[in-house]
């Protein structure tokens, strides 16, 4: 059996958020939505301060609380370990979001068009539309119009419809083409690795096996498929610095 997972090499991560940006463009997520988020954390008191970076994609838990609570089976886990959302089935109750201890879920509070409007780039500008056909965003990835997996559900990409839940898909559309997720692919320092973590022979399994690892909030028993290598789990006194802005007025 395949179980896709990600290894995050914290000794390498430099917190640049290239992964965040690659994800946003690959998956067409609108403003304020970060399927991949990178914590920049500060801990300790001057001058014994330290800084840590912690990329946070969806953990694609083996024992996923979000899947359990979904009342209609819109959030589901595939046999290959990917935890996905069926955008055509989700009723928008947001139970998965409160059930998830990692804060990885993003709800479409607005219509995708409205959510992109924060970027203040009128994609419907006639000059732009003459090239893009008015696609929102202009760099819209056609892969997300397709359905994936045996289950053939609409699970890939973002900004499909208002009122449904979304989150990191491990780039299901890329994985099924044999490509790495966009975040992994772009990481300048190779801090992100992806592959089958159940097969002992894969590079990622060997990498995980030969290092000290931890999972986020291990005690909760969610058994994430994202494994952190090197570094330590964020302490309770860690403070987040340099947060991204969110365009949604709060």
């Amino acid at each position: 059996m395949t179980r896709f997972g990600m290894a995050v090499d914290l000794d390498r991560c430099q917190g640049c958020r290239a992964c965040v940006e690659a994800c946003k463009i690959e998956n067409n997520t609108p403003s304020s939505v970060f399927w991949m988020h990178v914590f920049r954390l500060e801990d300790g008191e001057y001058p014994n301060t330290h800084i840590d970076f912690l990329p946070r994609p969806c953990q694609h838990c083996n024992n996923a609380p979000c899947v359990k609570v979904c009342p209609v089976g819109a959030r589901f886990k595939r046999e290959d370990g990917l935890v996905l959302t069926d955008y055509d089935r989700c009723i928008g109750c947001r139970y998965c979001e409160v059930a998830c201890p990692y804060g990885v879920n993003y709800f479409n509070w607005r219509s995708p068009d409205d959510a992109f409007a924060d970027y203040q780039i009128p994609f419907d500008d006639p000059d732009v539309a003459s090239v893009t056909g008015g696609a929102v965003p202009a760099y819209k990835n056609p892969d997300h119009d397709r359905k994936y997996g045996d289950e053939q559900r609409l699970t890939s990409g973002s900004a499909h419809q208002k009122g449904v839940m979304e989150k990191c898909t491990f780039c299901v559309h890329r994985v099924e083409q044999g490509l790495l997720p966009a975040c992994v692919d772009t990481c300048p320092v190779g801090a992100l690795k992806f592959g089958d973590i159940e097969d002992d022979e894969t590079p990622i399994s060997q990498f995980i096996r030969s290092n000290n690892t931890f999972q986020l909030l291990e005690d909760l028993g969610t058994d994430p498929s994202v494994v952190y290598v090197g570094g330590t789990a964020p302490s309770s006194t860690a403070r987040e610095i340099e947060r991204p802005t969110t365009g949604v007025d709060r």
């Binding site: 609570v69 928008g92 979001e97 059930a99 509070w109 009122g163 909760l220 987040e240």
Partner: protein, 443 residues
């Protein structure tokens, strides 16, 4: 709406006797009430239509995590609250049937009606909270998963409980309908249909009693399951500090009783006054309800103490953050007001119980205030665990949520709509069961 309180039979007019309990008669006060609640409902509708067109961005809810918000807000608080109110109705009704508590019979129908209306409102609140409401209605019937605690909410609470309550109300009201159907009025046909062949024979009476007894007996466990399942919505979530716990389900049941009986006290007092039914709803009824409420409040106070103690003794970091926010921080005002309303009134009721000096006015005040407390506690269950319950170091660990006018409008709309429904019911059917003595069983 204070003028027309006399039993109608005693004041014949236009040749026909009036229907009892103000049924079919519209005073100026009632029309004002009708206008206000209609306006309130429209306000709610406008709020909802705004939310529907703009998306839920129109609410104050936002994503947990990087957005630092709460994704469940007062809508879910209202769901829990309304479902809680429904508790009392069926409980009181069931207790009356099961233990034949004569003093409370006058409040039975009110309680049943309250249950139905509250469940309807709870159902509407759920729909309002869905990002895809239409899909919600269809997909729940199509795909609902038993593993999700929402399965219980949707299938048992909303469907089963609501249906059972309606059946219960119906069965317990057929006799009255049959009585009223004998009296010529515009509503005669309606009552006749309602009575559906009830002739008040001894046979029917005993069958009726039997049916309602068994139905009440069947409803009670359903009730516990339903309220527990609502508690499980929160209590099973290991990833949300402040929610996870075994106390959640029983606490939900108890607080449900508090809010429901509180409401019933208020409702009963109003009906008693408006319809001049001091005899049918005697002080004993209030004493019963008061004692019942007192017991629940004491139990709940105990839960609160346990909760506080557990929170401050050796909390995890996240639990402590929530605890601090509740006890001394952002939510402290609401927490202590809520706790105070619950605890203080437990003591006050205790005093009344000991001295046996039951005062309806005081009970109304208590009924209202414990509901403020219950609503506050619902909000405090739903929201702080989101804003202050992040386990990863998002922001400074503290999110925020402030409802927008849309949510307030919807809340106003829900309460107004509920009141409107009750008001309409009262013009169509006696809100108090007609007295046995007036109509002997047909032999």
């Amino acid at each position: 709406m204070t003028t027309q309180t006399m039993p109608t039979e005693e004041r014949p007019q236009d040749g026909a006797p009036r229907l009892p309990m103000g049924v079919g008669q519209f005073s100026r006060g009632w029309l004002l009430f009708f206008a206000l609640t209609t306006i309130g409902s429209i306000v709610g509708l406008i709020g909802y239509l705004t939310e529907h067109s703009q998306g839920m961005v129109a609410t104050g809810m936002r994503d947990l995590g990087t957005m630092g918000g709460a994704t469940w807000g007062i809508y879910i608080s209202l769901v829990v609250y309304f479902v809680g109110i429904s508790f009392a109705g069926i409980t009181i009704a069931a207790l009356i049937r099961l233990f034949d508590i004569e003093d409370l019979k006058g409040t039975a129908r009110m309680a049943e009606l309250m249950t139905i209306v509250a469940l309807l409102l709870g159902g509407i609140a759920i729909i309002v909270d869905l990002g895809q409401p239409l899909r919600g209605i269809v997909n729940l019937f199509r795909y609902a998963r038993p593993q999700s605690p929402f399965f219980g909410t949707f299938s048992l609470v909303i469907a089963g409980y609501l249906f059972a309550s309606i059946v219960y109300l119906y069965l317990t009201s057929r006799r009255d309908a049959a009585v009223l159907a004998k009296q010529p009025s515009k509503l005669q046909g309606f009552f006749r249909a309602w009575a559906a062949g009830y002739e008040d024979t001894a046979d029917q009476r005993s069958r009726d009693r039997r049916t309602t007894f068994w139905l009440a007996l069947a409803v009670l466990p359903l009730l516990v399951v339903a309220h527990s399942s609502l508690g499980f919505v929160f209590g099973l979530q290991v990833g949300r500090p402040g929610w996870f716990g075994t106390l959640q389900a029983p606490a939900f049941v108890i607080l449900a009783g508090v809010s429901g009986i509180g409401h019933l006290l208020v409702f009963a007092a109003i009906v008693r006054k408006l319809l001049g039914q001091e005899k049918r709803i005697g002080l004993e009824a209030f004493a019963w309800l008061g004692r019942f409420l007192m017991v629940l409040l004491f139990v709940y106070s105990y839960f609160v103490i346990v909760e506080i103690f557990t929170t401050i003794y050796q909390p995890t970091v996240a639990e402590q953050r929530i605890g601090d926010a509740l006890l001394t921080g952002r939510y402290a005002w609401l927490f202590w007001i809520s706790v105070a309303t619950l605890v203080v009134h437990a003591v006050w009721l205790g005093w009344m119980a000991v001295t046996k000096r039951w005062n309806v006015g005081a009970l109304v005040v208590i009924g209202l205030l414990v509901n403020v407390g219950a609503m506050g506690k619902r909000y405090l269950i739903v929201v702080p665990s989101q804003t202050h319950g992040q386990l990863l170091p998002y922001g400074d660990g503290v999110g925020s949520y402030s409802p927008t006018w849309v949510e307030y409008a919807v809340a106003v709309g829900l309460f107004s709509f509920g009141a409107l429904l009750i008001g309409l019911f009262m013009k169509m059917f006696p809100i108090i069961e007609l007295e046995d003595s007036k109509t002997e069983a047909v032999t």
